[in-house]
C-alpha cells in the first residue's frame, strides 16, 4: 500500500546523507537542471508547470503556472524569483522540515524556476529563527556552485544564476509576500498596497515572483516527469501531492506527503499516516490548514454537510463554505481531543494575531487587540453573554477591511469558534468557577469522534 503512494517531495528524504550534494546527485538530483537548461526553453518549463495544475502551497492555493505567466517582462529590467521560507503560520512546519532534510531539492527547484522566469538573481527568504537552516542552505548552495549548477554559464547553457539565502528578523507578517519584499529590502515588514502586484513591481520595484518553499520544490519533479504526469495525481483541481504538518493530539504527529484527495478519516486514523488520536482520547476539533483557517468540530471535518466523506483537497475542505467547511490553507493540521479548550485556544490565536499585526490598518490593529482582550476575559471567567456577540461583531468589522489578509486570518478563527462551539463559550460565562479550574474539560453536547 505505502509503496504505491506517489512521492514527489519525499521519495529521497529517507536516504542517509541526502543533505549533501554528492548523495543527492548520485540519487538523480539536479537532473531537472540538466534537462531544463539543455533541452527546454524557459517558456517550455512554464508550460509544464501550467499543465501540472500545481497550486501555491503557501496558503492561498493560487495556480503557480498562471502566476508565472503574469510576470511582466519589460526590456532591460531584471526579474526576481523570491522563495518564501518565512513559515510562521501556527501549525505549519513542513517547509522547515523540507529545507533541513533535503536542501538541494529546493535549490534545484530554484534553479529551474529561475531559468523559467528569466531571473539571474534569486533569494530564499527564511525566517530568522531558522538560522541553522540558513546555514544548511548556504552550505548546499556552495556545493551546487562548486559543481557548476550555479553561477555563470551553468552547464555551458549561457544561463547565469546567483542564489542567496536571506534571514528574516522574526515577524509573522513577513510571510505576506509584499511585507517579505519590504523586509528583503532592509525595511520594516509593512505589507504594501496592491496593485501594483509583485509580478509588475516587486523586489526593488522590478517584476518578481514569490513562491512558497514547497511550491518551488515540486518544479524539479514536474520538469523531469512532465506536467501531465503531475496532474494525473490528486483529484480534480487539487492536483499532485501536499505536505501536511500534523500536530496536536495525534499518535504520530509529523510531516506527511499525501496525495491530494486522501479521505480525512484515513489521514487521521490510518497507521500509514497519523495513526489516530492518542490512547484513551477522542477527537473533538481540528484546525485543518494552519491557525488562520476556520476551526471545525470533528464530525463536520470528517463528513461534508451532504454526508460525503471529506477529502484532503482544496475543494472538499472548503465544501459548505464557512457554514460547515474550512480551508486547505498551508496544510497545518492541528488535531484537538476532548482535553483541549476551544475558548483558550481561540484566545491564544488572537493574542498571536494581535502580537503580529503590523499596525498599519486600524481595523486590524484595534480589532485584534480587542478580540484578544475579550477572549481573555471570557477564558478567565469574567465574560458576559454580550461579549460573545461583541466578538462576532468585531470579527465582521475586520474581515475584508484591511490592506493585507492578516486581518481576515485573525477574524476567521474567532468567528468559526463561536459559530461551532458557542455552547463552550457560554459555559465559560455561566459556569466560570468550573470552567477556570485547571484541567477543566467542557462536557457539553458536542459530538466526539
Amino acid at each position: 500500500m505505502t509503496s504505491e503512494r506517489p512521492k514527489i517531495l519525499t521519495d529521497k528524504t529517507h536516504i542517509p546523507g541526502i543533505e549533501t550534494f554528492d548523495v543527492y546527485r548520485k540519487n538523480g538530483g539536479y537532473s531537472a537542471v540538466e534537462k531544463a537548461l539543455k533541452t527546454m526553453t524557459p517558456d517550455e518549463v512554464v508550460e509544464e508547470v501550467k499543465k501540472s495544475g500545481v497550486r501555491g502551497r503557501g496558503g492561498a492555493g493560487f495556480p503557480m503556472g498562471m502566476k508565472w505567466s503574469f510576470l511582466a517582462k519589460p526590456e532591460g529590467v531584471p526579474r526576481y524569483l523570491v522563495c518564501n521560507g518565512d513559515e510562521s503560520e501556527p501549525g505549519t512546519f513542513k517547509d522547515h522540515w523540507l529545507m533541513k532534510t533535503i536542501p538541494h531539492l529546493l535549490i534545484e527547484g530554484m534553479i529551474v524556476s529561475s531559468y523559467a522566469l528569466g531571473a539571474n538573481t534569486s533569494y530564499i527568504y527564511v525566517r530568522g529563527e531558522l538560522m541553522y537552516v540558513v546555514r544548511i542552505l548556504e552550505k548546499a548552495i556552495a556545493e551546487a556552485k562548486a559543481a557548476g549548477f550555479l553561477g555563470k554559464n551553468i552547464l555551458g547553457s549561457g544561463y547565469d544564476l546567483e542564489l542567496y539565502v536571506q534571514p528574516g528578523g522574526g515577524a509573522y507578517i513577513c510571510g505576506e509576500e509584499t511585507a517579505l519584499l519590504e523586509s528583503l529590502e532592509g525595511k520594516r515588514g509593512n505589507p504594501r498596497n496592491k496593485p501594483p502586484f509583485p509580478a509588475v513591481k516587486g523586489l526593488y520595484q522590478c517584476p518578481t515572483v514569490v513562491n512558497n518553499v514547497e511550491s518551488i520544490a515540486t518544479t524539479s519533479w514536474i520538469v523531469n516527469n512532465g506536467g501531465d504526469a503531475y496532474a494525473a495525481i490528486g483529484i480534480g483541481r487539487s492536483t499532485g501531492t501536499k505536505l501536511i504538518s500534523a500536530s496536536g493530539h495525534l499518535k504520530k504527529p509529523g510531516v506527511y506527503e499525501i496525495p491530494l484527495g486522501l479521505p480525512v478519516q484515513e489521514f487521521i486514523y490510518s497507521d500509514e499516516w497519523c495513526g489516530g488520536i492518542r490512547d484513551g482520547h477522542h477527537l473533538k476539533a481540528v484546525v485543518a490548514g494552519g491557525s488562520s483557517v476556520p476551526i471545525l468540530p470533528a464530525a463536520m471535518l470528517l463528513k461534508t454537510a451532504s454526508g460525503e466523506d471529506r477529502l484532503m483537497s482544496y475543494e472538499s475542505l472548503s465544501d459548505g463554505g464557512f457554514a460547515t467547511g474550512t480551508m486547505m490553507g498551508s496544510g497545518g493540521f492541528i488535531a484537538m481531543d476532548e482535553t483541549a479548550c476551544v475558548v483558550k485556544n481561540t484566545w491564544n490565536f488572537s493574542r498571536f494575531y494581535h502580537h503580529e499585526s503590523c499596525g498599519q490598518c486600524s481595523p486590524c490593529r484595534e480589532g485584534t487587540g480587542w478580540m484578544e482582550k475579550v477572549l481573555h476575559r471570557i477564558e478567565h471567567g469574567h465574560g458576559s453573554m454580550h461579549d460573545i456577540d461583541l466578538l462576532v461583531d468585531v470579527a465582521k468589522k475586520i474581515e475584508g477591511n484591511t490592506i493585507c489578509p492578516l486581518g481576515d486570518a485573525a477574524a476567521w478563527p474567532v468567528a468559526s469558534a463561536i459559530r461551532h462551539f458557542r455552547d463552550e463559550f457560554e459555559w465559560h460565562i455561566t459556569h466560570p468557577q468550573e470552567a477556570t479550574r485547571p484541567g477543566a474539560i467542557f462536557k457539553g453536547h458536542m459530538e466526539l469522534v
Binding site: P90, T92, H96, G128, Y132, E185, R188
Partner: protein, 167 residues
C-alpha cells in the same frame, strides 16, 4: 540614545567584517540596505544583543541614517534591544505547543531558572523570552537557545538541558 558619544565604539571583528562585506555583494548596486537584517544578526551574534553603538556602526557600513537601523531593529522580535543573560531561552507559547503540555513545561522551566517572562536570572545565565510559533509544532513543546532548537520537551528534559548549561 543621545549620549552614545561617550560610550565605547563597537565594530565587527575582522572575521565578521569579512562576512559583512561578503553579504553586501548579495544585492544589486545601490541596494545594500538589504543587508540590514543579516547585519543585525551578525551584531547580535557578536555582542549577545544589539546595542545602539553597534547599530550606529551598521548605519555607517551601509551609509544610511542610524534611525533607519533603529526602526527596523524595533520592528522585528529577534533582536534584543537590552542586555540579556548568557543564554536566551525563547520558548514557543502558541496553540499547538500549548495543547501538547507547554504550559506545565514552561512553568517548570521558569521556576527552575528563577526568572519570569522577560526576566534574566540572578546569576545572569538565563533570560526567558516567550515567542510565537517556531515552525516546530509537531515536535512541541519546544524552545530555542541561540540557533539550536530543543523539541519534544518534558519536565525531565528541561532539567537535563538546564543542568547541562549550568555546568
Amino acid at each position: 540614545m543621545i549620549e552614545t558619544s561617550d560610550k565605547p565604539r563597537i565594530e565587527f571583528t575582522p572575521e565578521r567584517l569579512e562576512r559583512a562585506k561578503e553579504l553586501l555583494t548579495h544585492y544589486p548596486e545601490g541596494r545594500q540596505k538589504s543587508a540590514l537584517l543579516p547585519l543585525l544578526h551578525l551584531l547580535q551574534e557578536q555582542e549577545g544583543w544589539t546595542p545602539t553603538e553597534g547599530m550606529d556602526y551598521i548605519a555607517e557600513l551601509l551609509g544610511i541614517q542610524p534611525i533607519e537601523v533603529y526602526e527596523v531593529a524595533t520592528f522585528y522580535t529577534m533582536y534584543h534591544l537590552e542586555p540579556v543573560g548568557k543564554h536566551v531561552i525563547e520558548y514557543c507559547r502558541t496553540g499547538p505547543c500549548m495543547i501538547m503540555g507547554g504550559e506545565e513545561v514552561y512553568a517548570h522551566l521558569k521556576q527552575k531558572i528563577g526568572a519570569q517572562d522577560g526576566e534574566t536570572s540572578a546569576d545572569q545565565l538565563f533570560t526567558i523570552k516567550p515567542v510565537e510559533c517556531l515552525a516546530a509544532c509537531g515536535w512541541g513543546p519546544c524552545f530555542q537557545i541561540r540557533e539550536k532548537y530543543y523539541t519534544h520537551l518534558t519536565i525531565e528534559k528541561v532539567d537535563e538541558i538546564i543542568d547541562e548549561l549550568r555546568k
